[in-house]
Amino acid sequence: MASATTSRFSRSALIKLAVGLVLVGGLFAVPRYVSSPYALHIMILIFLSTIMGESWNILGGYTGQYSVGHAAYFGVGAYTTVMLMQFRQVPPWIGVWAGIAAVLVVALIIGSICFRLRGPYFVLASIAVAEIMRLSATNLDKFTKGAEGILATEIPVFIIGEHVVTDFLTKVPFYYIGLSLALLTIAVTWAVQHSKLGYYFQAIREDQDAAHSLGINIPLYKNIGLAISATLTALAGSFYAIYVGFVDPSTVLSLDLSVQIVLVCIIGGIGTIYGPVVGALALVPLSEALRSNAIAEGLFKSGIVDPASATGTFLKENLAHAHVLIYGILVVLVILFMPEGLLGFLRKLGARLKQGRA
């Protein structure tokens, strides 16, 4: 009996590993076969969302500290990298380390303030701190160029020795950087979940007082969780800044962004390794499809609605306006009917199907 279960376990683990390797290999091969920059761009945005969601997951999902102020780390990472590149000619692959260092300092300060608080008080404090960061970046215009933002004019060519690695002129280098960072954050999450650290984190999430009585140093582990989460978020911020080439307080330090980060994780499935991946895979294409009016286009192309008819005109004029509304409705529906996120829902569905077959 025992041997049967172990062998089945290892077989399923092997299958999982094989599937994972094939998937990753396939993803690395994509730029060879897909030349559409638009498709690559959407993939890059999916990677970016994955990185943000996974990073938040470590603090919010595993440690149970629901920060709604992660834009602070994203923004500091983005600003540091771009400012060093633009004002001091420091190439981004060096600047990003400075960004991480800056974020760790910020995280330490924020942690020392916010971790004294629990529950809703923590949520609100995290928002307040992020807002202070945003307002500071807006007002310190001698330092950050304020609300005007910073436009990165040129990314230096990446050279190792004599060999030109990339000149950052196409989407491809960004695709690989995004993919690598996304895999890195997934790996970090996996490592956290399968280590003592993850066990401590989850103990704090489940019952802080009980964790304390078990002898877990709560402030220490909360700060470790925050440090990991903030570092990865800073990476996302730096990546975004270099990719988009423009930062300003209202995009990289806004409450909207903080909410977006939480959304990816919760819609996908909080506290799971692959939840944020599922969240990013669902949300990025969905919002792009809604925004670019792909639904109306699809209806027209399939011939269900005539674009020249009254309904067609109505759809054309209004669906584009209504995309945020539809997005909001979907968020509410997921929260109400899939409280464990898409991943939890898919798992339940899978289990039910299996039961049905048995």
């Binding site: 559409s36 638009y38 959407i42 005007e148 080439g245």
Partner: protein
């Protein structure tokens, strides 16, 4: 489908009627990136209205444009998505937009990369056309121009010695305030107060009281319409009494502001377009705009209209060939509701239209063009009368 057929028949009819003037009426695809949802939506809507009228007029000229509208919600990375899609998936001949400077900056290099002609209608930040890009063209005047024309006028019609600058701390607000400061200092005006406020605050009385204590001769403001109304209402309450209130475009050139005659009369604002100007078609545009949208026309709509007209005509003439369109934009000259448009290289700008700015003054709830004298016979009323 039906629209296409009608358009085709219409174009065919026109080409028969005017021999040799129009070519095969294959629709030319043009992208329009705009902010129609989110915080920037109010002006995004105005811009879209300009496009609607331009489409009608292009059709009248036998040019069948398929306009692919993209909403960037005012966010740079989404604007990039839109540009990627238009340039590579929809294969448009050219793009007009986006609305905000942040978005325009973010997509400027994409235009260069994909070799898509991009015509920026209203985003006014200087650096957009200072990157030496060859595929990007800007019809709009720059932020510097908004500040310069107003202060220049005040210096010529009065004898101000000092200026207070109040601006919202947004992209446009900050850069216009900076321009105003630089211009004032280089022209011997003393800047006695600089206040950058966060948009959407319900109370500016204390800030205004502080400014009143400095007794400035000029008050220069950059705000959107709602804050503009609040600022002026509260300036009256606290009795702020400069020689002139100068509003840099945006809210102060908005008809909703003018309607508040208690506080709006005699306020100056700089703008890129007014209907009284002698530019061909300006009056008709204003009339049609009122009839169609039941709203007062503003410069955003005129800029958008002119941009799409230029892009549409150029693209149709070049048969949708991007390289040819770029060359035509680079060398062409147009004369329409925005006056003469020409994309030139000067003062570090590339492909920048040297657009002349105008100053309007509100009289009895109506805008009157009062400056510069080359465009109008009206004289500015200066100084600002005592508050009642």
């Amino acid at each position: 489908m039906r629209v296409n057929r009608i358009g085709w028949l219409l174009a065919l009819g026109l080409s028969l009627a005017v021999p040799g003037s129009a070519q095969a009426p294959k629709p030319v695809k043009i992208g329009a990136i705009n902010s129609t949802s989110g915080a920037e939506a109010p002006i995004g809507e105005t811009i879209n209205n300009g496009y609607i009228l331009a489409l009608e007029d292009l059709k009248k000229k036998g040019i069948n444009v398929e306009l692919i509208r993209e909403d960037d919600t005012g966010k740079p990375q989404i604007s990039m998505s839109a540009m990627e899609k238009l340039a590579t998936r929809d294969s448009v001949a050219g793009v007009v937009g986006p609305y905000t400077s942040a978005c325009a900056n973010a997509i400027s290099r994409l235009a260069e990369k994909y070799r898509v002609p991009l015509l920026v209608p209203v985003a006014s930040k200087e650096d957009i056309t200072r990157q030496g890009l060859t595929w990007l063209f800007r019809l709009s005047a720059t932020t510097d121009d908004y500040a310069a024309i107003l202060i220049d006028m005040a210096l010529k019609v009065g004898k101000p010695k000092s200026i207070a600058i109040i601006n919202e701390n947004t992209d446009f607000g900050t850069s216009a305030a900076k321009s105003a400061k630089a211009f004032s200092e280089s022209h011997g005006l003393k800047v006695v107060a600089e206040e950058a406020y966060a948009k959407g605050s319900p109370d500016y009385r204390s800030t205004l009281t502080k400014i009143k204590g400095q007794n400035p001769d000029l008050v220069f403001m950059v705000s959107y319409v709602a804050d503009g109304i609040l600022l002026m209402r509260q300036a009256r309450e606290v009795g702020l009494q400069p020689q002139a209130f100068l509003g840099a475009g945006a809210g102060f050139g908005n008809p909703a502001f003018a309607k508040e005659t208690d506080i709006s009369n005699n306020v100056f604002s700089s703008t890129q377009w007014t209907e009284e100007v002698t530019w061909p078609g300006a009056k008709e545009f204003a009339k049609r705009y009122r009839e169609k949208f039941n709203k007062e026309p503003v410069y955003h709509a005129a800029n958008a209209y002119a941009s799409l007209m230029i892009m549409g005509e150029t693209a149709a003439k070049a048969g949708g060939d991007r390289e040819k369109i770029r060359a035509a934009l680079d060398s062409g000259k147009w004369n329409g509701i925005m006056g003469e448009v020409k994309f030139q290289d000067y003062d570090g700008y590339t492909n920048q239209n040297k657009h002349p700015m105008l100053v309007e003054q509100i009289r009895n709830g109506k805008f009157e063009t009062v400056w510069p004298a080359t465009f109008t016979k009206n004289k500015p009323f200066y100084p600002f009368p005592k508050w009642k």
